[in-house]
């Protein structure tokens, strides 16, 4: 409760926003995001999207997995409905993050639409850093701090999107391939690292195996069907294991 007693006048909203931006610049996530979004920019280039579209997609979607799913699905000719459902399934994980963070940042005076704007910045990296840093910030300034943090992470991600796009367009083929290869290798490793329990690990393996099989069989909605089948199979294994305990 001590931070509640700290006088609010010691930090203006602008100062808190600025402090959030500086925290973003010092965060290890800024490097991770930079690398990831170079790969995303290159991917968007080679799948035929414009550079402006790629930048707008980073600003509007602001969730790496969803963005990769959107450009891959649309670029390979998936239907819009399949792509939208795949994005929606990947986005559900954002809801508990928002639910957990907002009570820590809002005050009785906070307007709902302010929260909507702030919630837009919430993604895995920003969420982790918020919880680590927010105890140092007086409650009345936490929203501004989080906005600064989110903004400070998004701007480098936008720069990286443009850089990756340009690299894919300008580099000789072998190096352009390397930039393009960032997305699969980085997402494979980070998804594996985020998969701490058996059900997530199984879902990763089953998805890797089933998606090519479903694509080869030329099912309609192959990406979605493979994901739901592989995920449900993994969940089933988890239930069987729980039941045998």
């Amino acid at each position: 409760m001590t931070e509640e007693l700290q006088p609010v006048e010691t930090m203006t909203s602008v100062a808190a926003f600025w402090r959030g931006m500086i925290a973003a610049g010092r965060s290890v996530f800024v490097y991770v995001l930079f690398g990831t979004f170079i790969g995303y920019g290159a991917l968007a280039h080679d799948l035929g999207f414009s550079v402006l579209w790629s930048l707008v997609s980073t600003a509007l979607i602001w969730a790496g997995p969803a963005q990769v799913i959107v450009v891959s699905a649309l670029g390979s000719g998936s239907t819009l409905v399949q792509a939208a459902i795949a994005v929606a399934l990947s986005g559900i994980r954002l809801m508990p993050m928002v639910v957990a963070l907002l009570p820590v940042v809002k005050t009785a005076q906070t307007r709902p639409w302010h929260l909507l704007a702030s919630a837009h910045f919430i993604a895995v990296s920003m969420w982790v850093e918020s919880f680590r840093l927010i105890p140092q910030i007086p409650r009345e300034r936490r929203l501004a701090f989080c906005n600064g943090l989110g903004f400070g992470l998004m701007v480098p991600a936008l720069a990286a999107t443009a850089l990756g796009y340009a690299l894919a367009a300008k580099l000789p083929p072998v190096l352009a391939s390397a930039v393009l290869f960032i997305t699969p290798i980085a997402f494979l490793c980070s998804t594996a690292r985020n998969s701490r329990v058996l059900v997530d690990k199984l879902a990763l393996v089953f998805g890797l195996v089933l998606a090519p099989v479903f694509a080869y069989a030329e099912f309609d909605l192959d990406l979605l069907l493979a994901g739901v089948t592989a995920g449900t199979l993994a969940y089933g294994c988890h239930r069987v294991r729980e039941a045998m305990r």
């Binding site: 559900i92 072998v174 594996a192 995920g231």
Partner: protein, 115 residues
């Protein structure tokens, strides 16, 4: 039902397919700010399906990649991702080292055996 990206304005597609299906969960988080049990059965299943969809996209990007990556032989792409992932697993589950070694394998093999 069978609309694809070429049928509509690309920015409209971005809003409908990329922005709204993702942002809706942030909005729902603001308005229905009830604690969600992340270990509830539904959330475990959702996380598994979302992980599997992302895994499927990863497989697709390696097996049938877009653009420049498609010019490299399949075995090089597979060898590179296997190398990167093996290093990731072996060395403290470091994503950075996994990516670095996967990239090194891709470029090295391409220069040695590529066209």
């Amino acid at each position: 039902m069978n609309l694809t990206v070429s049928d509509l304005n690309p920015y409209l597609v971005l809003i409908l397919v990329g922005f709204l299906p993702n942002e809706i969960w942030r909005w729902l988080g603001v308005f229905f700010a009830r604690r969600i049990d992340e270990e509830s059965e539904v959330m475990v299943w959702v996380r598994a399906v979302a992980t599997a969809i992302l895994a499927g996209v990863i497989a697709q990007l390696v097996l049938t990649p877009p653009g420049a990556l498609a010019s490299l032989p399949l075995w090089i792409r597979l060898a590179a991702i296997a190398t990167g992932f093996a290093v990731f697993l072996a060395v403290r589950r470091s994503v950075f080292l996994g990516v670095l070694c996967g990239e090194a394998a891709l470029v090295g093999l391409s220069l040695a055996f590529g066209s």
